[in-house]
Every structure is written in structure tokens, then in C-alpha cells.
Subunit: 322 residues, 4 copies
Amino acid sequence: MIIVLKQDSSEEQAAQVLESLGRLGLSATALPTSQNMLIAVLDDVRQLPSHLFSQLPFVERTIRVQPQSTLALKGAPLTLSFKNKIQIGNGQRPVVIAGPCSVEGQAQILHLAYKVKESGASMLRGGAYKPRTSPYDFQGLGKEGLKYLSEARQATGLPVVSEVMSAEQIEQAEPFIDMFQIGARNMYNYELLKEVGRSSRPVLLKRAMSATVAELLNAAEYIMLAGNLHVILCERGIRTFETCTRNTLDLGAVAALKSMTELPVIVDPSHATGRRDLVAPMARAAIACGADGLLIEVHDQPLQALSDGEQAVTSCQLKDII
Amino acid sequence: MIIVLKQDSSEEQAAQVLESLGRLGLSATALPTSQNMLIAVLDDVRQLPSHLFSQLPFVERTIRVQPQSTLALKGAPLTLSFKNKIQIGNGQRPVVIAGPCSVEGQAQILHLAYKVKESGASMLRGGAYKPRTSPYDFQGLGKEGLKYLSEARQATGLPVVSEVMSAEQIEQAEPFIDMFQIGARNMYNYELLKEVGRSSRPVLLKRAMSATVAELLNAAEYIMLAGNLHVILCERGIRTFETCTRNTLDLGAVAALKSMTELPVIVDPSHATGRRDLVAPMARAAIACGADGLLIEVHDQPLQALSDGEQAVTSCQLKDII
Amino acid sequence: MIIVLKQDSSEEQAAQVLESLGRLGLSATALPTSQNMLIAVLDDVRQLPSHLFSQLPFVERTIRVQPQSTLALKGAPLTLSFKNKIQIGNGQRPVVIAGPCSVEGQAQILHLAYKVKESGASMLRGGAYKPRTSPYDFQGLGKEGLKYLSEARQATGLPVVSEVMSAEQIEQAEPFIDMFQIGARNMYNYELLKEVGRSSRPVLLKRAMSATVAELLNAAEYIMLAGNLHVILCERGIRTFETCTRNTLDLGAVAALKSMTELPVIVDPSHATGRRDLVAPMARAAIACGADGLLIEVHDQPLQALSDGEQAVTSCQLKDII
Amino acid sequence: MIIVLKQDSSEEQAAQVLESLGRLGLSATALPTSQNMLIAVLDDVRQLPSHLFSQLPFVERTIRVQPQSTLALKGAPLTLSFKNKIQIGNGQRPVVIAGPCSVEGQAQILHLAYKVKESGASMLRGGAYKPRTSPYDFQGLGKEGLKYLSEARQATGLPVVSEVMSAEQIEQAEPFIDMFQIGARNMYNYELLKEVGRSSRPVLLKRAMSATVAELLNAAEYIMLAGNLHVILCERGIRTFETCTRNTLDLGAVAALKSMTELPVIVDPSHATGRRDLVAPMARAAIACGADGLLIEVHDQPLQALSDGEQAVTSCQLKDII
């Protein structure tokens, strides 16, 4: 860590800072440059709280040379066992997780689960609790949806992932599903992250629309620090000024993450583009740049979908993609 | 609402769409233009779910001419009564809510509460539960912090606002405080919005870093639809590419909101800039463009603050600002 | 085009608007909805100036249903002939354009040109005029650089592309190179676009950091309307809040452009990421989502490069990528 | 400047870097931390080109502690003399520059010039050359427009500012106007910046939609390094995801600039918001946060304007604002 002192700081003041750091057990050295006095902390400060440094006197700003998320950066690939063993990450064959945006009924999810299986995907997705921008839009079937998901899981042997948004939903969902999804809108919901961190179910953590890669890793760190080391990171598009796609898929972040951590990194081309016709090209691009898997929305009657129909591919198209 | 049909749609297909809309009880008309067939829905569809339209056949996209948040757009100014009556919004004298980022101890919050009162502010803020990007940073004193806040409230007569991040925290905090704060990181946490919507305490709702004005109004709509009409909107900076300030304070959004709704709109220049030296100019600018109040971080020893010390002004500076 | 009238507009006022449109020779129809009066223009207005509509009375806003760039949307693949014929676009084998950021000397560019050829690339790039954020940074060798480029072109048979930034540079560069590059910083420089539009050399047009896809197509329209139909579009990363890569490569825009126009679309993974280690994965992703080619920076001594060394791959790495 | 070496660098390699820096005449020191080897350069390197450092061996990245734009940071207020003396910056009464987006005719600009004078503004603006996103939109009257501007200048005694976009236009415009405007779309057009830098006329430099404050200062540095120290900076909104205003007015950047340089900083609330009804509140906010002046679009028949009519206020509204 580099601490930049205010421009008019004296050498005495630098000495005071060094002394304060010393009392914290940290070795450091002062560097008088032609403009500012700099203090370089030589020890590993990644797991120390930021206020230890910002509360030092005469400080203009601090520059962390290393990110704080040490557990996330040491993460590992994932093995999921239901009827079969699925390995995610670490150069394994990319995993495809597919299904409808929302569970809309018993028949719908069962039909789609079989189609998803036929197309070669290895996990089923489906939302029972839906975070919607407008309170007037469809909010999901709730517990009923979880039961339908669970029936489709038993029938097809496909493990299931579904989104949770509160402690209560975690408790409700746990018996029915194999993996929790934390949606983009809840990536900064640290209470929820700690809550899924206390579970033993793997967590699929989606990057928030406005989150940096560093913040995504910090969110994973919250889950892992609470005890749950089974995290999958998911890039699903960030919010920018461009409007020809719903969000801007940041595959550079996927490649960057793959160079930083062994946590599996998957990509959701459906939410990223919001356009059915761009799902296949972006799915190919995601795998080409190193993603460990895909999360794809499927609906055989996208025009009848109760949410996000514009971006769902049909099960035939899914087969082609895989 | 304008529904744009796919480019090769026939008049027969347009007729089918019109018929479907008719079955929903909606009057509409088809417009063959030189490029696309357009369908204009003539009725008020603001409170109808989006899937009713996206699930129609042959649709390329839909354009909502009116926003969906009807309650938020009909919102009203707020009156808060503790020892005195405070009126917020509607051309009243701007309200100043001030206090430390975090409650750090009994003496600290009591001292600051008196200073805040002396400086002329009319409400006290202080965080007991802190959402922090890194799990290694200070997470707040929790229930103990709430008690200290409550003591400072009784001693000074200043009503108190404090952030909550879960249903459990809402229950814990309710007896101690006058207003809930929903932080920027939780603006998309719809379960939490519904939860504070069931309370009768007013809610200070902060705009998420990546939220549009329309999404902020939709978040307010969630609270109001759950029964709680007492909402204050707060602009606190959005995330952009600029790095000379921590976030980019969007005062244009404040002026735009003031032209749309009578809900009070306040501004947090501390989080928006992240720089103590810019709090005063941006506070002046906020009031100049019509904001109904300010949320300002104060700390008399900002270098000893356990969080966000860089942006806190001293109580002397606060007095000058007011 | 949909024209939204102000909320309190009367039917008489709508009639006035219709009459004005009629005088312009445009057929239109009025649509009284429950909130606003809408006017739908039924004729093709893509090539009509915007002020024709915004200057109509009682107008709140206008919504163009179709983009204005009709030439760009009708664009065609490109054939380039120097010693060999190179076809770019339309499902041809992706073209690779490689070379150093800046021409730094006669020996450097000659050496790299041979290496680029050996590695299998089909065009040489190299900057003689360099747009640099700081005036203190290396500004390019100018005309001398163009001569070295031209020698390397003759020696290897590789056609050459190089950036121009003014009318004077266009004139200077024209005899020495095969294709002009308009850099991202000059995409909005409409005088320059018109100038290269008067040339017959093909133009490689880079998307500005803040340009939407629609604006990129409008920039191409400027060139094409001036007479030069030989345009290649190049995505090179947009500016967002993310800092782990220099820019955010927007491959969704590439796939979207491929669905809109037959103009060739290529990708520059070097400037997009600013990181040597991410060039290969993003090059693969670009091709996977349908890009017609790549623009890659190469330097065999990246640590000695006079500009942008951090993002240049070596000629060995280039060979691997191809 | 801090140079971060690659993670596995040895002390010997650090010694090599120090030696290389020594050969450049720069004193530096190595700092072995627990993760990386850091090299701190102690001399003033602001005016040295970046490649001197990035070309050193074993370097991971470099962190400039000080910005490079030294002339811009030492800038001075401006005095403009035509019939009266106008002082801009340095705590003087804010200057108001007003006029139409485009010069549309002799009568129009003369009428507006008188109105602008009457309302209390002290300079006239008007575009003769117009950068328009679409080539089909009105491109300005060119030299004819300049003559009309010049006549209005003589008649009213108001000095005039007008945009130039090429070397040729600079030459044409110089006899007719008092100040050049460099538009947001040309802020990165370094050849144009050098060209106006060779003139002695003051330059009103608008921030590009995607430019950081540091880049704006670097653009000013280009002009000043070419010999012209008379620069006014202008904030006119940046591009973000928000769409309720045309751009996002970044007043935090204005306050930050005022704390960095004595160059005058003015604000354009018309282009920033794109909405007539928000011009007044944002003008007030701009002055409240320390802006040295305003640039406001005025049109007495905004519905007949040939460009940007949505954002022009009438001369009556201008009077109220002033």
C-alpha cells in the first residue's frame, strides 16, 4: 500500500505516520519525492480494514497495490453431485445451465426440463422468486414454483439452480434446489451474501450492473468468509450508455477473472444482450474467451413468457448452441 | 404504448394483435408506415404488467410512452413530528440531516448530535448497520449503535434516520429511530422495499449507483404499493467513468424529479463526491437547483473515523454550509 | 416516426401538426391515447433533417423508429488489391491486420512487417501520426514514418493501414498507404470524415469511446455520403466504470452490427483491453461472435515501445493467435 | 511516480531498473513489499513522456501520483476587450454567453443579439459550422453565418464566440469573432487543438462526452503548449446510462476543477440537459458551485429552430435566469 501525504507535509509529519504504523505492527518507509511525501507500507495489508490507513494524519489518499479479496482469489473449481457428477471450472467441458426465466406452471417447467436435458445442457434454471423493476410485473410463483422445479429435477435428473432474495426464501428454497442464485440486483446485499454463506449449497453469484471486477470478488469474499467456499461467478452485462443491447456484455472481465482466480466463471448471454438473436454469437464468444459455462434462458413459446420473453431462445436453438 | 411489429409483418398479423389486445379489454389501432407496422394502444396501461405486450405475436419491441410508477408520481411532501414538526418538500425551507457515517460509540454520537443541533441541522443521521464493499472493513455497532443513537435523539430532540439492510434489522431498529434509510446498494432489493413498505415510518430511499430516474421511481412505487406513502428520494451520485470524484452527482436528475413528483428530493453531497472540500459547493448547488434538503456526513475527528472519513466535514464546516 | 405531443394538447392542435406535415408532403395520422396525443408519420423520414419535426408546434418529443444511416445499413464487403486480393467481410476468412502502435524507425517496421507476414497476417498497421492524451508523449515520426511504412509494404507485399488526423495528413499519407484509419478520438470529427469521404481509399473507422452503435453508423454515413463507400467498422472498447481493462470491449455491438449491415466489422482487442495477456482470449471471442477480422498491436520488444507497449503481443504470440 | 514491478521480480532486476532510471538522470528508490517490488521515482516527471517508464524492464504498471498538465494547472483568468472589458474567472461576476445554437439568418441573429444584450448577457454565441450526428441534419451557414454574426457584434457591441472544426475554418472565422469554441466532439482532435493554440484568440474548450477531468486538462495543455494561454474550460454534460436528461451535467467536476486551476470554468446547462425546463435550475446550481459563467442557448421561436430547439430558452426566460 502507498500512502500519499498532503502536499505540504513535513518530514516530521511523515515520521509521525511511520510511528503510528509501527504501533499497528506494520513496517513502512517514507519517500520524499519532488512533489509529495509518500509512505510505502511493506507488509501484507490486504485483510486489514481501510480505516486503519485513512485515519492516519496528513493523508491525502491511499493506493492499495493488491486487492482485498484473498479468499476469492484462492477459490477452487466446483463439483456438483446429484444423479451425476458435474464439474465446473478448471478446464472442464463448459457447463450449460438452461431453463425459463420464470417457472410459470407445472407443465411448462416439466416440458422445458426434458427439452433442456435433450439439448445436452447439464443443469436446469428457473425463477420462483422474481426481482422485477416494476411492482406491477409478474413476481414469480414462490413456493409453488419451487415444488414444480423440484419435480422437474426428480423427473430429469438435472440439478437445479434458482434465485433467492431474502433469508426467508433461502430457508424455503434449500430443500428443493441444488444451487442458490444471487441475482445482479442483490450482489451488494451483504446481509443476503452472509446468509447464503452460512449454507452449504453452492452459490451462483451474478455481477451487479454497476459492479467492478474487484467488487464482484469482494462480494464472493463475503460468502466465502461466512464459510461457504462453493461460489461460481457470473458475468451478465454491465450498464453503459449503449442501448442496442439491454446491457453490455463484458467478456474482458471474464478473461481478466480467469487470470486472477480459479473460481468458475460463467456467462449469461440472455440477460446481457436482451435479444434472442444475439444469444448464440455471444455464447460462442464467451466460451472462446475462456468461460467455464453458460446460463441461458429457454422458452418454447417465448411470446407467451411471463417475463423476459424477448431474450429466450427455443429448445431447438439451445441444441444448436450446445 | 407503441408496439413495433417485425418488419415483414402483414396486415393480417396486425389484425391478430389488435384482436388479442381487444380480448384484454384494450383499444388500439394499427398504423402501416413505410417501414414497420405499428400498433398504438390508446388506453392507460401503466399499471399493467409488461408481459401482456411482449407476449403478443410478431412484436419486435414495445415503447412505453408513460412511466409505470403512478403512486410515486403522485407522491406528497412529508411532515415529521418528534419534539418539533419538520416539513420536508413543497417549497419548505430545506431540511439538513447530518451526522457521522457510522455510530462509533456513545460519547461520539452524543457529542456530534449536540454539534449537529447547534449548527442548525434538523435531523440526525448515523449508521448502526454498515454495508461495506470489503468484509474486512468495519461493519457497524448494530443494536448497541441504535441505543446510542436513541439516547442522542432524546438528549437533543433531533429525530433520527438510520440505514437498515434486512427484515430483522427493520424490526430491531423500528423502536429507536424516526426514519428508515434504504442505502444505494439496496435500492434494487425489492424484498426489503416491500418490508419497509409495511412499516409506517417514513423511508429515505437512496438512488442506486446504476439506477435511472425511472428505476428510482419504481423502487419508491414498491414501498408505496405496500402501503407506506412516506418516501423521500435521495440522489447520492451515480457511477460513471470519471474518477476525480467518488461518484458523479447527478443534479439534473434532481431537477427532473422535482418536475415529475411532489415526493421530497434530497441530496447527499458527501457520498456523491467522496471529498470533504467539495461538500460545501455541491450542497449549495443542490439547493440552488431545487433540492428539498441535504444529507451530510459530519465528524469532528475525520482522521479517526472508522468509515468514510475522507468525505466528512467538521461541525464548524457544517455550520458554515447551513 | 412517432411524435409525442405535450400532455394538454387539443385535437385542434393535433390537426395543425398534421397540416404542417402535409405541407412537407408527409402523410401522418393522429392518435388520441388516454394520456398524450400521438402523431405517427407514415412515410420514410430517415433522410430528412430532425429539425423538420422538432420545430413543429406542441411537440414534447419525437421517437425515430428507424435509424437515419441508410447508406451505412446498405454497406457492402470490401476487396483490397495490392500484390494479392484480400476480401474482408461477408463470411470470408477473417482478416488479421497487425503491426506496431507507432512506426519507430526504418529497421523496426521492416523487421516487424516480415514477422507479421510470417505469422500469417494479411495487412500491416503502424502509426505515423499519433493522437496522444498528453502533449508530452511521443507524437509519431510523421512523413518519415510513412516512408518507412511504404518501404515495408513494398518489401513484404502487405498492404498498409495508418491513421490520419487532418486534411493535410490525408494528402501526405495517400501515396504511401492502402487504407486510412480514423481513430476513436476522431470519430466525431465530421470535417475529417467528409475529407476521407472524398478519397477513394478504403477507410477503417474506429468507434469512439463514448459512441453508440447508431452514432458509429452515422459516422460511416458521413464518409459514404461524401462518395467513399469503402468503409470498415472497428470496435475497440468503450469507456465504462470498469478499470480492470483499459476499455470495455463491446462484442455485443459487433454481433448487433453484423445483424444490421454488410459493412465489414473488425475488432481491436489490443486497445480494448490494454493488456497483452488478454489479447488472445478476446481475439478468439471476437471471431467467435462473427467479427470479420482483427486489428492487433505487435512489438517484438514491447518494453522498448514508444507507445502502448503494455498491450502489444510479440510476433510469436501473434502466430499462435492466428 | 510509483513503478510496480512484476510479482516475481528479483532485487537484481530492481537494481537494473534503478540503473536505467539513473541513466535518464532520475533519482529513484526500490521498495521490497511483501507482495511486489515497487520503485518510487523521486524527481518531477510530469513533463516526461510515458514510454520512458513503460519501456523499463520487469514493469507491471506505473502509477502517476501527479497529473501531467502543468501549464493548464497554472492557468490564469481571462480578460476580453471589445467595446467593453470583460473579466472571466477569479471570483469576478459570472459571465453569461448566450445566443442561438445555429446562426439561421441575418435577421434572426441580429434580433437575438439585441435580446441577449437587453437580458444582461455579456457575450453572444452562435454556430456557423455545426457538427451534427447525422449528415442529413442542418450543417450551418458557414462563412455567411460568420458575416451575420459579425454584423450583430458590431451592432450590439457584444463580443462573439463561435465553433470551429478545422484549420480552414479557423482561418475563415478569425477576422469575424472574438473567441473560438472547440466543441465536445473535437476535444480529442489534437491537430485542431494545436491549430487554435497557434492563434492569439481565446479558446472556449468544451469537455468531451467521455472525457475525464484529467483529459480535459490535457486538451487545454495542447492549446497552451502551442502558445495560446487564453483558455476557458466548459462542462457540458457527460455520457452516462441516464436518459431523463440528454447528458449528465457533472457539477462535481466543476468544483474539482476550480480547486485545481485558475483557468475560468463555465457551464453549458442547455446541452447538458437538452431540456428547456431544466436550464434555469441547472444554471443556478452551476453558479452556486463556483462556475465562472454560463453558456446558454436562446431562441425566440424554439419550435422553428434548425437545431437543438428542445433546449433553447426564450430571451424572456434568459432575462429571468440572469
